[in-house]
Structure formats: structure tokens, C-alpha cells
């Protein structure tokens, strides 16, 4: 897709998203807000796992950290809602960076295990620090009302806020990943030793990527806390982290659009599965997952990329075959 065509497509999608609240119920809108929230979280994870090759099975922890930061700021300290997002982002940036440092020594399976252990510990830790987190009961929030007298109900307001945050963060990520930083991050994934030999400070980049990735997921967590207006330890269990992993693989690793596709998948496919079978919905979900991997082993975005590349190559070969050959008349 040419640059202009892509821009037109994106603008069309944005326009569609902007008028969506006029056509759907509040609940549907809530679901779409969740999609956008997940997309931000998935982009965070994708930066780390897809672009940088560090597998994390524990991003639910940063999601939880962001969510609880927002909840505590609002409920305990009555701080303005707007502050929660940057606060969550900053806190998770630091936490992610700090976690990224010991993670430097771990690779592949071992990093996955360490992050998996982290994810497992989250609900327990949240329940343990009751005074802060409200223990198993969690914290209840009230949804923010639209400011400046805008004619939007809370769900609609949150939808637009989430959409706006998503846009900003996505554009930021795109610029980051398309430039030198992105190339360095990918180089580290493909061959860390070579990258280091070329002068890239792999340790710094890896830890920073962890931090930024955590920050994105943390902001998403904060947004989800505002949208759902409730946080409780058991929502942030290991299954959440696994769901995020599913999201980025199905959506497409190392792909920004993949994050949005993945968000749609993890939000809606479980519901469809339930529509198909009330008795064993997760079995249907599992079948969906497996079939998706058969048909699109590189994720939706990855498969699209492959098909486009294949078509381009065929066009090139066809063009080369019919082009006039310079020199002798004999075929090569």
C-alpha cells in the first residue's frame, strides 16, 4: 500500500471511530474502548517481544501497576483523573527499566519463566498489601464526567479519551520504531552480538525498551481502571498476561497495526466463543486460537505483509521476464 493510500485508510478509520458513539450502545462503546486499551497494552508488549525479542509472560503486572496507581490516586488521594495517566506511565517506565536490568542476563525460555513467575505473584502481592489496595475487595471508582459541559456521557467521554491517548502513543511509537532507535532495537533482536559489535549499547537499549514497553502497558492499565471503574486482584492474574501474549502473536509480532488487530481478537473472540457454546466456550476459543495459528502463523498483520510481498515479487518477476534484454539475442 502506498504511503498516500495508507494515510487515506487511516483517516477513514479515524473518521469512522469518531462517529461510532452515534451508532452503538453504551455497552458496545465500552467494548470498543477496551479494544483501544488493549491495543495500547499490546503495542507495549509488542515493542518488547516483537521488535526487541524479549519474551514477557508478565506484562499483566505492569497493567495491574498502572491500574492500581490510577485507582489509588483517585480513591485515596483524590487526585485529578488526568494525572493518573502520566503517573502510571512514569511509574511503570521506572519499574520496567528496573526489571529490565536483571532481565539482561536472561534469554528466551528463562526470561519467559521469570516474567511468568512475576505474573503469578501479582494477585497475591495485591492481596497482601491490603491497606493500599483494598485487598481482595478491590477499589471501586466512579466514572469521570465529561468536562467543559460536553454533551457526552461518561462512557462516550472515556471512549474519546482512550482513542486520543491511543493515537498519541501510536504515533510516538511509530516514529520511535521507524527511526534509528527502532532499527537498533530490531538489530538487537536479530543478532545481539553483531549489534553490539556495531557499537549499539545493547544493555541500555534492552532495559529502556523494557521500561517504555512497561510504560505503555501501565498507561493502558490506568485507562482500563477508569473505564471499568473497578480494580480487584483476581482480574490481574497470569491469564491476563497470557492473553496479552496471544494478542500480539495473533495480531502480528513487530507490527503496530497488529496491536489493534490483536486487541479486537482478545476482546471479541471469547464472546463469540460463548455465543457458539455456552457449555464449553473456552474449548471453542482454543480451537479458534489453533486454527488462527494454522492459517496465519505470523499473525494477521504478518500474513498480510507476506501476501503483499509475494504479490510484489511476482509482479517484479513478471516485469523482468517481459523486459527487453540488452546484448545478444540468445536466451540466458
Amino acid at each position: 500500500m502506498s504511503g498516500r493510500a495508507r494515510l487515506v485508510a487511516v483517516l477513514a478509520l479515524l473518521a469512522g471511530a469518531a462517529v461510532l458513539p452515534l451508532f452503538v450502545s453504551n455497552f458496545r462503546l465500552f467494548q470498543f474502548t477496551q479494544v483501544a486499551t488493549y491495543a495500547i497494552a499490546l503495542l507495549g508488549l509488542n515493542m518488547l517481544t516483537g521488535y526487541n525479542g524479549q519474551i514477557s509472560l508478565g506484562h499483566g503486572a505492569f497493567y495491574a501497576l498502572g491500574a492500581y496507581t490510577a485507582a489509588i490516586m483517585i480513591d485515596r488521594w483524590s487526585l485529578p483523573y488526568a494525572l493518573t495517566l502520566p503517573a502510571a506511565g512514569l511509574l511503570c517506565l521506572v519499574a520496567g527499566f528496573l526489571f529490565g536490568i536483571p532481565a539482561l542476563r536472561l534469554e528466551g525460555l528463562y526470561l519467559a519463566l521469570a516474567t511468568f513467575a512475576l505474573a503469578l505473584a501479582v494477585p497475591q502481592i495485591l492481596k497482601y498489601f491490603e491497606d493500599w489496595t483494598g485487598g481482595s475487595q478491590g477499589i471501586v471508582l466512579s466514572k469521570p464526567k465529561a468536562p467543559w459541559g460536553l454533551p457526552l456521557n461518561p462512557d462516550q467521554w472515556l471512549y474519546f479519551v482512550t482513542l486520543a491517548v491511543m493515537l498519541v502513543l501510536f504515533v510516538l511509537a511509530r516514529n520511535l520504531l521507524a527511526g534509528r532507535t527502532g532499527r537498533a532495537i530490531v538489530a538487537i533482536r536479530d543478532n545481539a552480538t553483531a549489534a553490539q559489535a556495531m557499537g549499539i549499547n545493547t544493555a541500555l537499549y534492552k532495559s529502556l525498551t523494557f521500561g517504555v514497553s512497561a510504560a505503555y502497558t501501565g498507561v493502558a492499565g490506568a485507562l482500563s481502571a477508569l473505564t471499568i471503574a473497578f480494580v480487584a486482584p483476581d482480574t490481574f492474574n497470569v491469564f491476563l498476561s497470557i492473553t496479552f501474549l496471544v494478542g500480539i502473536v495473533v495480531g502480528g509480532l513487530a507490527s503496530i497495526s497488529g496491536a489493534i488487530l490483536g486487541g479486537f481478537f482478545i476482546q471479541f473472540v471469547p464472546n463469540w466463543a460463548q455465543d457458539i457454546s455456552k457449555a464449553a466456550p473456552w474449548a471453542i476459543y482454543g480451537v479458534f486460537l489453533i486454527l488462527t495459528m494454522y492459517v496465519m502463523p505470523f499473525g494477521i498483520a504478518g500474513t498480510v505483509r507476506l501476501l503483499v510481498a509475494r504479490r510484489r515479487r511476482r509482479a517484479e518477476t513478471a516485469r523482468a521476464a517481459t523486459a527487453p534484454r540488452a546484448g545478444t539475442a540468445k536466451a540466458g
Binding site: I55, L109, Y110, V249, A280, G286, M293, Y294, P297, F298
Partner: protein, 293 residues
């Protein structure tokens, strides 16, 4: 003192179970670089199959060996039918397929058998056994015995049979194995079959203790991860030893350290994982990965 010995033996029994599941994980990991996240659920499903057979009136040991056969066949089938289409694809793709399997087995078990806990019989007598002045549960000793027999069988198989040698070769170097005429795909399938079998044994040994329900193996899988991490994912023997250590540690920590009640017992597993990964990621017996530049 007697309590300590009892706890140790009890710990060895559960440790043997953790080690068995860890062994299944390591076997598949060594051959494919993939951790089969569905290992626990497959074992749980096998145990339900055993329960069905026993409920139908079959004697315990008939059901036991019948389950082993069915599990082996099931494992082979799953590898050839479900995993084969993604063989050679990125590792995360295969991981997602395993997660799909996990979810399917768990859901199917809940649907077919309901989520109500069921008792599962132990083939070992109810009466405790006295050895010297210490009293042991017969099931604990029996479980240790069964685990040891299974491990001995596997060891002999891999060490002394041609098929076992071919499987080891296929796991280490698929390309060269093909040049020896080894059908690598089928070696993988047999590996999955054996892993499923080992998991089934673990499930049938643990069910009498924790009662049979679809989420029975979830916690055990985590302990298995801890065991494999401790022992080393590149060492089958290490995985088993890791399991034994984790089992004993968990029991002793639960008994003697007061704030680790039943809720925080899982923390022991996590602590093991994190400590090992911080100090020696390749585990006690594992070989550190050497990267060719």
C-alpha cells in the same frame, strides 16, 4: 525428628510427581525448543479417563495401564495432527497452539465431568506403614515407588534401545538424523506420546491426594516449572531431582515457617524460580547455552 522425616518422605512423594511433570516438559523442550504449556491439562484429562474406566468397573491396575496406553496414543496423535502444521514456524506460534490445547482440555474436562471435585482411588492400602519409629502414608511410599519405576523404564529405553537412541539423535540434531534415515517427525510424535504417558502417571498419583477436578494440575504445573528450572531445562535427570528438592522444600517450608500457610505455598515455587534464574539460569544440572557467533 519423626515429623521431619515424615515431611521429607511426604515431600519426596509430591516431589516425584512434580519431577515427573517436569520431566515431560523437559523431554518435549529438548526436542522442540517449545515448552508444552498444555502438559498439565493433558495429564488431568488422562486422569479423568482413568476415573471413567474405574467407574465403569475396571480394576485399578487395568485402568492404570489402559490410561497409559491411551495417553501415549493421544500424545502421538496430538503431535502429528495438532502440532505438525506449525512445526518449523516461529516458537511463539507453537506456544500459542499449546495454550490453545491447554484451554481446550480444561474446558472439555469441565464440560464432560463438571467442576465438582471427585475422589480418586489410590491403589495403595489405607493403613499407614511403620518403618522403625516413623509412620508413613502408604500412598506416599507407593507414589515414590511408581515414579521410580517409570523413570527407570524411561532411562533404560533411552539409553539401551535403538529407538531411544534415534529419538535422542532426532532431538539433538534433526538434520543429521534425517541423513541416517530417521523419520524425525515420528520421533517427535513418540516423544509427545511418552511425555503424555508420564504426565498421566503423575496425574493418577496426585489425584488421590488433592482430589480430581479440572484445575487440579494448574498448581502442579507451576511446581513442575520450578522443578525444571531448578534442575535445568536441558537435563531430564536434573528435572526429576529438581522436583524432589522442590517437593521437600515446599513441605518443610509449609510446616516450619509460620507465615507460609497454604495460600503462600505457591510463593515457594516462585521464589525457587526467581532465585535460580538470578544466580544460575541453566539450573543445577543444566548446560549453559553456548551461542555460536
Amino acid at each position: 525428628m519423626e515429623i521431619l522425616v515424615q515431611q521429607i518422605v511426604s515431600g519426596l512423594a509430591t516431589g516425584g510427581i512434580y519431577g515427573s511433570v517436569a520431566l515431560a516438559l523437559v523431554m518435549i523442550y529438548q526436542a522442540t525448543d517449545v515448552v508444552n504449556y498444555a502438559q498439565g491439562e493433558m495429564a488431568m484429562f488422562s486422569t479423568y479417563l482413568a476415573w471413567t474406566m474405574i467407574n465403569a468397573g475396571l480394576p485399578y491396575w487395568v485402568a492404570f495401564f489402559g490410561t497409559l496406553l491411551v495417553s501415549f496414543a493421544g500424545g502421538v496423535l496430538i503431535e502429528r495432527v495438532v502440532i505438525r502444521p506449525v512445526e518449523g514456524k516461529p516458537i511463539l506460534t507453537i506456544v500459542i497452539v499449546c495454550i490453545g490445547l491447554l484451554v481446550i482440555f480444561n474446558s472439555l474436562a469441565g464440560w464432560i465431568y463438571s467442576y465438582i471435585q471427585k475422589p480418586f482411588p489410590s491403589p495403595f492400602p489405607e493403613r499407614p506403614i511403620m518403618l522403625g519409629v516413623v509412620v508413613f502414608g502408604a500412598h506416599d511410599l507407593g507414589a515414590i515407588g511408581v515414579t521410580l519405576i517409570v523413570l527407570a523404564f524411561l532411562y533404560a529405553f533411552f539409553r539401551y534401545t535403538t529407538l531411544g537412541l534415534a529419538m535422542r539423535a532426532a532431538a539433538q540434531n534433526p538434520a543429521s538424523s534425517r541423513l541416517c534415515g530417521i523419520r524425525v517427525g515420528w520421533m517427535l510424535a513418540i516423544g509427545w506420546g511418552l511425555a503424555a504417558m508420564v504426565g498421566a502417571v503423575a496425574g493418577m498419583m496426585v489425584a488421590p491426594i488433592v482430589f480430581l477436578d479440572p484445575n487440579m494440575m494448574a498448581g502442579i504445573l507451576i511446581y513442575a516449572f520450578a522443578s525444571a528450572t531448578l534442575g535445568g531445562f536441558t537435563s531430564p535427570g536434573g528435572a526429576v531431582v529438581g522436583g524432589l528438592i522442590v517437593g521437600v522444600l515446599e513441605n518443610i517450608a509449609g510446616t516450619y515457617i509460620s507465615f507460609i500457610g497454604t495460600e503462600l505455598k505457591l510463593t515457594v515455587a516462585l521464589a525457587v524460580i526467581l532465585v535460580v534464574l538470578v544466580f544460575k539460569p541453566s539450573g543445577l544440572f543444566g548446560r549453559a547455552a553456548v551461542h555460536r557467533v
